[in-house]
């Protein structure tokens, strides 16, 4: 039988108290006080983040957990921008063209927001760039959209899908942003809006979403800068997920969402983690959320923002992290 010494190169040490979790990663030791073998495992969970100053349903987010940007919202009708520092939210500069339902890319201090709908119900092709304090108009997208997908950076972004005329059927168009102009790209294999997004212009992806108000996607599509590929990984159930980019093509999250059937608001607290190949179930959020924003740097760094909890708009946010905890080794 292989021994621990042969595997790790060291003996199992005996200690009267456990070492700090972060120092014990990968080790096994014997605790002489509890007469148990111990180790350290990685465990992930959601904790509550700083509450939004006001509800922001249908917002889209970009950035990361400790430096996030929430752009636009169905309410309030001011084109609000809110910034998160990992603890609390402050109000940033408002969009020049007050609207919501657009796509976003970039970081908290270097972001891009494109298309969407104004509060009078007019769809717009407007693009704006953010420098951390104010928005500047940029060249418009070629085709308006609502609940579009967006990913990439401020200087190299992708617009994917969305609904061209508000509620209704989505389309499969793609546009690429080169820092100055939008160019129509190759279409997606299927039309979808309200998808989760991740990655860069040359290594991006979208997951979930819906074709219309009744048909939802579980599938994942990857983008290489010029064409889309259907990949095997699927979320469960098929649903709309967070709006905003979370992670990369090889490390992403899809959390919360909605799969209504025309008469119900079926919000989820589900969370799934992507490793570049498959989606696996991860710890759930405390709140069910739909029409919520989300962002994060990887499948270990997520931020869920506002939305509806199945009944009402909420200001609550949640942060997903992976930590280390001391665990007793069990033989059963």
């Amino acid at each position: 039988m292989t021994t621990y010494k042969e595997v790790s190169g060291k003996y199992v040490r005996s200690v009267s108290s456990d070492p700090p979790a972060a120092l014990g990663e990968g080790e096994i030791w014997y605790n002489t006080s509890s007469n148990t073998f111990k180790t350290v495992g990685q465990v992930s969970a959601w904790s509550s983040g700083g509450a939004l100053p006001a509800t922001a349903p249908e917002t889209v987010c970009t950035g990361q957990q400790t430096a996030a940007l929430s752009i636009g919202a169905e309410v309030p009708s001011s084109g609000i921008t809110q910034e998160y520092n990992g603890s609390s939210w402050t109000t940033g500069g408002p969009l020049s063209s007050a609207r919501y339902g657009g796509g976003a890319s970039g970081t908290q201090t270097s972001a891009l927001y494109f298309t969407g709908t104004t509060y009078s119900g007019s769809f717009t092709t407007a693009t704006e760039s953010y420098n951390g304090s104010s928005w500047t108009n940029a060249n418009a997208v070629n085709n308006q959209g609502f609940m579009v997908g967006g990913f990439g950076t401020q200087g190299a972004a992708v617009l994917a899908g969305g609904r061209p005329g508000g509620p209704g059927t989505a389309n499969n168009r793609t546009e690429d942003w080169d820092g100055s102009n939008w160019t129509n790209g190759n279409t997606m294999p299927n039309a979808r809006s309200n998808s989760g997004t991740a990655g860069t212009q040359t290594a991006g992806m979208i997951v979930g979403g819906s074709a219309d108000s009744y048909n939802y996607y579980a599938s994942t599509l990857e983008y290489n800068g010029s064409s889309w590929t259907s990949v095997p990984g699927t979320i469960s159930p098929a649903r709309r997920v967070q709006r905003g980019q979370v992670g990369s093509q090889t490390s992403a999250l899809a959390f919360g969402g909605y799969s209504g059937s025309g008469g119900g608001a079926n919000a989820y607290n589900l969370n799934e983690s992507y490793d570049g190949t498959s989606w696996t179930t991860a710890p759930t959020m405390a709140n069910k959320r739909s029409s919520h924003g989300g962002t994060g740097a990887s499948n270990a760094d997520g931020l869920a923002v506002g939305g509806y909890n199945g009944g009402s708009q909420i200001t609550a946010t949640e942060e997903f992290t992976i930590g280390f905890t001391v665990q007793t080794v069990s033989t059963s």
């Binding site: 700083g50 509450a51 509620p167 008469g263 119900g264 709140n287 199945g310 009944g311 609550a316």
Partner: protein
């Protein structure tokens, strides 16, 4: 023994529930500021420390039902365009 403790408490934001809390006990949030908490010592202490008001399951369900009813009435009073964007809230049954 019941699996859960039920109560109402107002989410105060950052660290209202922590990473460690989520490892120590079950926790889920529901409309009406209703919380369903795993029935162990740490769960009970958490609810008490949050100035939570303990409810029976039926009392907590009534709070959720009232919140959903209010949301449904708000939806019913919204415009047709708004109704196309957000579906009507449905009843929620607490675990």
């Amino acid at each position: 023994m019941s699996l859960f403790i039920y109560g109402t408490a107002t989410n105060t934001g950052k660290d209202f529930f922590t990473y460690q809390d989520r490892l120590d006990f079950y926790l889920s949030a529901h409309p009406g500021n209703v919380w369903v908490v795993g029935n162990n010592e740490k769960g009970a202490v958490w609810l008490a420390n949050k100035n939570g008001i303990t409810k029976t399951k039926s009392e907590a369900q009534a709070v959720v039902d009232a919140a959903i009813t209010a949301a449904q009435e708000a939806w019913d009073a919204s415009t047709d365009e708004e109704k196309l964007r957000i579906d009507r809230p449905t009843d929620i049954t607490l675990p």
